[in-house]
Amino acid sequence: MSEHDHPHEPITSDSKPSYYEIMETAVRELLIGKGLITANEIRHQIEVLDSRTPALGARVVAKAWSDPTFRERLLADGRAACEELGITFYDDTQLIVLENTETVHNLIVCTLCSCYPRPVLGLPPDWYKAKPYRARAVSEPRKVLAEFGTIIPDDVEIRVSDSTAVIRYLVLPRRPQGTEGWSEDELAAIVTRDAMIGVIPVTVAERAAS
């Protein structure tokens, strides 16, 4: 693996399709021509992917903060609780929701590839798929967290979850102080993707500043 982050060429409207884009189009059209897949299946799956964003995970977290019985169901069976909200698990993965507490801070990573809770968060950011995060999150998580500006006290356990199989993880961050009485919508608005990966906490700073 190289250390660089595969910089992408700037895209301009008149840039020629790359060799790989041509290959993607050719493979797809050949498979459609052979009747192995259909154009509609690809089109539909793009819509599925577009419909999955961190806003879904944020709704799950906000509901867990607001509804103790939902929180219990979510921690017992993450997938079943998300399915209550209509979130389907199109990739046939299971979901374990990892609750951050006063004594445990969770962090998720996939060292072998790029496993990620796509049904609830969408596609992962590039840094999650790149070598520095994958290599170091398992062996020096506190240094990795510090690079995200997150300092975890030594008396709080860091618990890293490395995805290798059909289980995906979602971090249930701690609800920040000063959010008492907030609606689920207000709560969901402060829950970020990175907080659900576990690299930063949820804060009210942005809202207070605005």
Binding site: E24, L49, D91
Partner: protein, 109 residues
């Protein structure tokens, strides 16, 4: 130890030396998103399941994995696996790519 050459996969990097985290991201280009959708559909139909895709990416080797971006690795892997399964031939793909390239060029005027 030469055993490491064959028993350690290029993507098995947990604990490896690596630089600091750079919080990069990019909006997927349309072809990259189509490539992701293709991966999902191939898995749904078990034409290429997700684990075959992962194994196929590993088979590209450490050098190529390091040099090629993410979806470029995927589409090359799909082609290789489809050849192995006898679902596509290299000639079919080469001819189709030439056709697609010519079409794109004609569309661009």
């Amino acid at each position: 130890m030469t055993a490491d050459f064959v028993s350690r996969l290029p993507n098995d990097i947990g604990g490896a030396e690596a630089g600091s985290i750079v919080q990069v991201d990019h909006v997927l280009e349309p072809w990259e998103k189509r490539c992701h959708a293709l991966a999902d559909v191939l898995d749904f139909k078990k034409i290429i399941n997700t684990e075959e895709k992962r194994k196929g990416v590993e088979a590209l080797g450490a050098d190529l994995i390091g040099k090629l971006p993410y979806y470029e690795r995927w589409i090359v892997t799909f082609a290789n696996i489809l050849f192995t399964k006898g679902l596509l031939t290299p000639t079919e793909l080469a001819e189709k790519m030439a056709e697609v390239e010519a079409r794109f060029a004609a569309e661009a005027g």
